[in-house]
Assembly symmetry: C2
Homo-oligomer: 338 residues x 2
């Protein structure tokens, strides 16, 4: 039972007593074919279990692979999973499949994935850039007309389409919400590395809110942690400060999870908290978690729509799409300082 050879179009043709080209015509519903010929072809196709070879077809047609390559940092992160789902369902109806790889947030892996995708001649590239990458190496591809869209974060050193959350405005709104409830010392727990685009933008939003309210910025209130565990420890450190914050702004889903855990461990139900990115159990926490909700499926859908229009020949200017966020007050953000 060693891998049996799959039947080819020629096999089908021989069996029917016609030429490969005729079979091709039937299968692609192209040009005139006698109804009875068509029927006989279909019958043999079924009997032999013939499956057209897409690789061969694409090659001959000179078409690119009917796939789009997607690079995300981490599949297990539901944020990126949902983004990927949004993309997949949007492009599927166009007959495109999605090839994914995860970069684990390293530029080396990202680049090797991109190289694999390019070698496969994918029709388009969708990339969540890794934190420290540089994307000048994609310039030639872009100029050759390959649609490339960056997601969640813009490219570095390359002018290209991108679709991102309204990070800065969302973070500003979340922080302003805390300020509106009387807080003057607000801790910030951000992602790692601190140079990460989303981290920087959200940090700017945080500072915008402070500035708008005329509040001083205290570097000592800024903490960092990439995992929930690290964020929990960060929250505990902030609370242990001599002059601790009365509220926390957690700038991503892991940070929010960690902050909740950290507050719980410290037994502090009096500290206000706003998270960036919603969590499934947010409403049943004690207190229920106030968040700045992102729209991951919307980000995926927007990126997919952009890629499809580029594939359709849209040569208009490069765009930067901001997908809006939404503040959802649930309780934890409305606590007032003691």
């Amino acid at each position: 039972m060693a891998s049996a050879r799959r039947p080819t179009m020629t096999d089908v043709a021989r069996e029917v007593g016609v030429t490969a080209k005729t079979v091709s015509r039937v299968l692609n519903e192209e040009g005139p074919v006698a109804p009875e010929t068509r029927a006989r072809v279909m019958e043999v196709v079924r009997r032999l279990g013939y499956q057209p070879n897409l690789m061969a077809r694409n090659m001959r047609v000179g078409a690119r692979d009917a796939a789009i390559g997607l690079v995300i940092p981490d599949m297990g992160n539901p944020f990126f999973g949902t983004v990927a789902g949004g993309i997949e369902s949007a492009v599927r109806e166009r007959g495109l499949t999605v090839i994914v790889g995860s970069s684990s947030e390293t530029k080396e892996l990202e680049r090797s994935l991109v190289a694999t995708f390019l070698a496969r001649r994918v029709s388009a590239l969708l990339v969540v850039p890794s934190a420290t990458g540089d994307h000048r190496y994609l310039r030639a591809e872009r100029e050759a007309g390959l649609p490339i869209v960056f997601l969640d974060r813009p490219a570095m050193g390359l002018a290209a389409d991108c679709v991102v959350s309204s990070n800065r405005e969302g973070a500003r709104e979340g922080t302003a919400h805390l300020i509106a409830h009387g807080h003057r010392r607000i801790g910030f727990i951000g992602d790692l590395p601190a140079t990460l685009y989303t981290r920087r933008e959200r940090f700017q939003g945080y500072r915008d809110a402070l500035a708008q309210a005329g509040l001083p910025f205290d570097k000592g209130l800024v903490e960092t942690g990439h995992s929930a565990e690290a964020a929990a420890a960060a929250a505990e450190r902030l609370l242990a400060l001599p002059d601790p914050p009365t509220a926390l702004f957690a700038a991503n889903n892991f940070a929010a999870t960690g902050a909740v855990v950290g507050l719980a461990k410290a037994g502090r139900k009096d500290v206000a908290l706003v998270g960036y990115d919603d969590l499934p159990l947010a409403e049943v926490l004690d207190p229920p978690l106030t968040v700045v909700a992102q729209d991951p499926a919307g980000i995926g859908a927007a990126a997919a729509a952009l890629v499809l229009s580029r594939l359709d020949g849209d040569r208009s200017r490069i765009t930067k799409t901001l997908v809006p966020t939404r503040l959802i007050p649930r309780g934890s953000g409305e606590l007032r300082p003691r």
Copy 2:
């Protein structure tokens, strides 16, 4: 700036003044090539930005596509996302890429995804079967030697490798845990459709535990809901029963989330709860959520290992791998009935 033609191996060869075959030899590090020729080839490759065309290579080599097709029900579900991540990292070092599609739990979509993958001549197929599917249509492929592994749920009507969680034993253990804490009326909230493999297995485990303890089975305590919202409503219905349960077993992550929400809405902190599948915030809930934790990355890794060994020619008998679960007592499962 219409899609410029990518340089081919022949373009490189002409530029260097050699034959395509020589370039091929350099790029594949195959056979003897004069060092200076190699250097010149590499230089031109770089200058032209040449990218080998994998489609053409695979076709000529008669090799299948260096990709494995993965069908999952839903990318946004972190359970499947983590499974996918486990697979991807395991196969990447073998130079394989993962092509994913989501079936949305429908057999039609699953089948069309599988057809796409087969047309692409993927090297192997990894499928989380949709709830109601029938997989006899894959028999020919299996017999032709294509490695096919089913995940999370076994195939229907087809003898094939599969990797699943130890659903029945895990559910038995979770339920027995509740019984050990004095509960005699335990509600079951399961997935939809009720014919779903994991739902049936976990339900069996639930009944096993009851039987072992000599407790009666009450059909009225069995509820269903696919989403967290539906599960929350189910929990509320159960609690509103004339003779309500004192404990709940929620048979998947959405059910567990929903049960937590439902109990919170009803203001019931006295009802014991055990969830199947862990949740990120389980430990900070009030009370902290006791779960039967699955090992999604382990499931992915096991499936990947199996596929790789099949690709390496392992023709031994079909296997069914059970990935163990682990009971994590945190509080909600240890509440005693009033």
